[in-house]
């Protein structure tokens, strides 16, 4: 329908002279007056930053949330609290990374919270009751996640049972298994080396190294992209814009390290978040698998007819998501230094909310890992800020629920506006 509106609304001749039109705005005004030129230049610079309004909206909203909590309690922006905040968001963020792929492929996974509980329980039991070492414990917990991923993915992809049902069933099933195997008692305390997954901090020098590494890698990527665009006759963004981007990311990375190092250093779980986020961003944007997942979510029939093995890819998406859930389970059990009955319950909803707030569409086909991280940070900030204000916990549910609906409403409203305009 919409596409139809699009092409009927446009005279055939106005389609533009192909690729050369990418630079549009410059040609419009005949040059001459300096002021007009300057405005034009500003406008064409702004164009390079307009690419993802949704992301900027969310980052803006995040800043507002932070500002609000800082005004309420100046401890909110203290290194201690920020360190705590990033620690708290880690589990949700890891789940949201995997969930993004699942939602992009057009499915949903309601079982990740129970997988967090179950894999944490498996790790604690093996470590506490059976005295397994940290290495094998990690392997076993991850193995459980992988196996569950294969099972659920296989039922969804090859047996065509809706993911909502399969994972809803899984959610109850894994929780039940956890209760049964632990006999409903808390399993604690863990071996110190296992505990460190959730509680340790990166040494200061390692933190700085990581910060600079991010800056350097980002710079290299931006330069490579410029080169590629230029080589293929695309208009590359102006050098000033690239510089601004690099400066922004650099300030963010180094500032982050500085703040974290003002306390105890970067929390190890958050290091895992960074590594996983970079890895999965790469997978989603730069691999054939990632491209195929977006195509499957965007139009499964077109993907199938293009020779994509959609069953296999779909199954693999669940394997990845549930493996990440096992990683999150390890982080959580290590942070709590205990496996409890209710560990991870309702986490799937936090993860889904993080994805959606971050711009992933439940219809499939669109969404980014970076957006999911921002979403997870929004959710964690709300939790953290409100408990800092000593608000009762019921408020957290109410506020988070309202924010979720508001975020999606704003997105839909802005998209409708865009549609009307064009």
């Amino acid at each position: 329908m919409n596409a139809q509106n699009g092409f009927e609304g446009k005279p055939a001749g106005a389609d533009g002279p192909g690729l050369a039109a990418a630079g549009g705005t410059d040609a419009a005004v005949p040059g001459g007056r300096a002021a007009a030129g300057a405005i034009r230049r500003l406008a064409s610079l702004a164009r390079w930053f307009r690419f993802d309004a949704r992301a900027y909206t969310m980052i803006g909203a995040l800043c507002l949330i932070w500002l609000f909590f800082t005004l309420m309690n100046e401890r909110f922006l203290s290194p201690t609290n920020l360190s705590n905040l990033f620690l708290q968001m880690s589990v949700t963020a890891i789940l949201a990374i995997g969930m993004t792929l699942v939602i992009v492929s057009g499915h949903i996974d309601l079982s990740v919270g129970s997988i967090v509980g179950l894999t944490g329980g498996v790790a604690a039991i093996l470590n506490v009751w059976y005295d397994w070492n940290t290495g094998p414990v990690i392997a076993a917990a991850i193995g459980v996640g992988v196996a569950i991923g294969f099972l659920q993915g296989w039922i969804v992809a090859y047996k065509a049972v809706p993911a909502f049902i399969v994972t809803l069933g899984g959610m109850m099933l894994y929780r039940g298994i956890l209760l049964g195997t632990t006999g409903s008692v808390t399993v604690a305390p863990l071996d110190p080396s296992l505990k460190s997954i959730g509680q340790a901090y990166l040494p200061y020098t390692a933190g700085w190294t990581l910060g600079f590494a991010v800056l350097i890698v980002y710079t290299v990527l931006v330069l490579a992209k410029r080169r590629a665009r230029r080589k293929h006759g695309f208009q590359a963004e102006p050098a000033a814009v690239s510089l601004l981007r690099i400066a922004f990311v650099g300030a963010l990375a180094l500032g982050f390290v500085f703040v974290m190092n003002s306390y105890k250093g970067i929390p190890v779980p958050f290091v895992m978040v960074i590594v996983l986020a970079i890895l999965f961003s790469f997978i989603s944007r730069n691999t054939t698998f990632g491209r195929q997942v977006y195509a499957i979510g965007g139009n499964p029939e077109a993907a199938r007819l293009s020779g994509i093995n959609i069953r296999m890819k779909t199954m693999f998406v669940f394997v990845l998501c549930n493996t990440l859930a096992a990683v999150a389970g390890l982080v959580l059990v290590a942070r709590l230094n205990a496996a409890t009955m209710s560990a991870g319950s309702m986490y799937e909803l936090d993860a889904i909310a993080a994805c959606v707030i971050g711009g992933t569409s439940l219809a499939g086909g669109t969404g980014t890992i970076a957006g999911a991280l921002v979403g997870a940070l929004v959710m964690a900030s709300l939790d953290n800020g409100m408990s800092l204000m000593n608000m009762e916990s019921f408020w957290q549910y109410i506020v988070k629920g309202a924010i979720l609906v508001l975020a999606v409403y704003l997105d839909i409203a802005s998209r409708n506006r865009k549609k009307k305009a064009g």
């Binding site: 329908m1 919409n2 596409a3 139809q4 509106n5 699009g6 092409f7 009927e8 609304g9 446009k10 005279p11 055939a12 001749g13 106005a14 389609d15 533009g16 192909g18 690729l19 039109a21 990418a22 992209k225 590629a228 665009r229 080589k231 293929h232 006759g233 695309f234 730069n286 691999t287 054939t288 698998f289 491209r291 195929q292 977006y294 195509a295 965007g298 139009n299 029939e301 077109a302 993907a303 199938r304 007819l305 293009s306 020779g307 994509i308 093995n309 086909g365 669109t366 305009a421 064009g422």
Partner: protein, 511 residues
């Protein structure tokens, strides 16, 4: 007589584009007024203005109904003025009965309780009006064929007291018989003084039914003509703004060796156990030829090519040889590996990922060629996209434009580009020019010719017989899933092909 409908100096601007520029036309009661123009000429925009989808104030110009100036702030206002639009995509609620559909939103009721009896009685009356007297008002709309659904839509419009009926490509999905029925109904409505605005790419229909033809080009009216004083070629040249000397630029066949051999190919009908959609079909395709497949709706044409491509739901049996070797194709993946490619009937549903950009769509079936291992190479992908844009003359803002925003013809070229990248030996084209404008059609034909010259074998399905006969070197006629005739290009006339396609039908034999 005063015009029942006048649109005067309608101008509609979108940011950056003027879609309509001072378009005027008028129609009398009992007139069928055809709007012709290429995609993007502004027909649908004009009709959206008329039907209130673009509210008053978002356009310049005036709408007069029976001489009275009207301002429509929404679809309701237009409906109250007696205007009903029937879109290309049917808008019936498939799970509701015909009667419920006819009165959707205006159910006859007393104190909020639906008066079923009255609803049924009135439904029967309106169904009779459109020649569906035999249809029970209780029938679930989704169980009807497309043709009947179309007629139910018209009945629905009439039930709203529509005096001005807008039909946007009403026959795109109809069979020949259904088209004939529809046109008869429209003639009957004309007799009763209903004004019809008829939008169609099928100029033979336009000539058959229209009293007046208004041609739009690039958002302007080129002129309004009495249908009696104009012919198809003249309309086409007005639409494209130049004389089209040769609508079907077929190149002489230069057939090489046989690339694909199909023997006793049968395909089960997945919806009706025990029935066949295709039965015992055998044929050969040679390098450098275009084999046309003709047949009515439901003759099994799409099922045949989809099953050869490994993409049909029903089970297929028979032998398939490609390049002299027997092959078994279980999925589109297998098919692509063996050098087959399929441009499917419905590009939006099956061909494109509309939210993805041009280059991602172009490379979707050949990701391996733009990646090292599993990692995509952005450079090679851009190069692939540019190559496609250049060689097929795809008009797009940039390679990063979402294909959903392209015109139909450009979307179809993106689908073609995707498949050409797989270097197919046999290319199946299922309705390759459906819903695209004359200029883009011609470009598609040119691309086909170029492929044939390169030695690709093309199997083309088309419901437009002149196109099928004009482009193919051989025509195979399917009827009820069986081969009902084969013609060489010289022998194939519309009459002969149609006769073959309908003959088996009359025997009333099942598949």
């Amino acid at each position: 007589m005063t015009a029942s409908l006048e649109m005067v100096g309608i101008t509609k601007r979108f940011p950056g584009v003027t879609a309509l520029c001072g378009v005027s036309f008028a129609a009398r009661p009992g007139e069928i007024h055809a709007l012709c123009g290429e995609n993007g000429a502004g027909k649908s925009t004009l009709m959206k203005v008329l039907s209130g989808l673009y509210p008053f104030g978002t356009y310049d110009g005036e709408i007069r109904i029976n001489g009275e100036t009207k301002r429509f702030f929404g679809v309701r206002d237009a409906e109250n003025a007696g205007i009903a639009i029937i879109h290309q995509e049917l808008a019936l609620a498939r799970n509701l009965s015909v009667a419920e559909n006819l009165f959707l939103g205006r159910e006859p009721s007393r104190f909020g309780i639906v008066d079923w009896e009255r609803m049924h009685k009135e439904s029967e009356r309106w169904l009779r009006e459109v020649g569906l007297a035999s249809l029970g008002p209780d029938t679930i709309a989704g169980t009807l064929g497309i043709g009947k659904q179309q007629l139910v839509e018209i009945a629905k419009a009439l039930a709203k007291n529509a005096r001005i009926l807008i039909l946007d490509e009403p026959t795109a999905a109809l069979t020949e018989q259904e088209v004939a029925i529809l046109l008869d109904i429209l003639r009957e409505l004309r007799r009763r003084g209903v004004t019809c605005v008829y939008i169609s790419h099928k100029l033979n229909e336009v000539m058959a039914i229209a009293d007046t033809v208004t041609v739009l080009r690039d958002g302007r009216s080129v002129g309004t003509f009495p249908a009696a004083g104009i012919d198809e070629n003249r309309i086409i040249s007005l639409m494209v703004g130049r004389e089209l000397t040769d609508r079907y630029p077929r190149v002489p066949a230069n057939p090489g060796e046989t690339v694909m051999r199909v023997r006793r190919w049968s395909v089960a009908n997945p919806d009706i156990p025990g029935k066949f959609a295709v039965k015992d079909v055998s044929f050969d395709v040679r390098r450098g030829e275009i084999l046309g497949i003709a047949g009515l709706m439901g003759a099994g044409r799409t099922e045949l090519v989809m099953s050869l491509f490994g993409a049909w739901r029903g089970a297929a049996t028979g032998e398939l040889e490609i390049g002299g070797r027997p092959v078994r194709i279980r999925s589109p993946r297998d098919a692509i590996r063996h050098g087959l490619a399929l441009v499917s009937e419905d590009r939006k549903k099956d061909g494109l990922v509309l939210g993805m950009d041009v280059k991602a769509n172009v490379t979707l079936a050949s990701l391996r060629s733009v990646s090292s291992g599993y990692v995509l190479d952005a450079n090679r992908e851009i190069a692939a996209g540019e190559e496609a844009v250049r060689s097929l003359k795809i008009k797009a803002g940039s390679l990063e434009t979402a294909v959903g925003t392209l015109s139909g013809g450009n979307q179809q070229k993106v689908v073609l580009a995707k498949w050409l990248r797989t270097k197919p030996a046999v290319l199946f084209l299922d309705e390759p020019t459906r819903g695209i404008d004359v200029g883009a059609k011609y470009e598609i034909y040119t691309i086909m010719n170029e492929l044939v010259r390169q030695g690709v074998a093309i199997v083309m399905i088309s419901s437009e017989l002149p196109e099928l006969i004009g482009m193919s070197h051989r025509v195979l006629v399917l009827s009820q899933g069986r081969i009902a005739g084969e013609f060489r290009a010289e022998e194939a006339t519309q009459e002969a092909v149609m006769a073959a396609a309908t003959r088996a039908m009359q025997r009333g034999e099942d598949g």
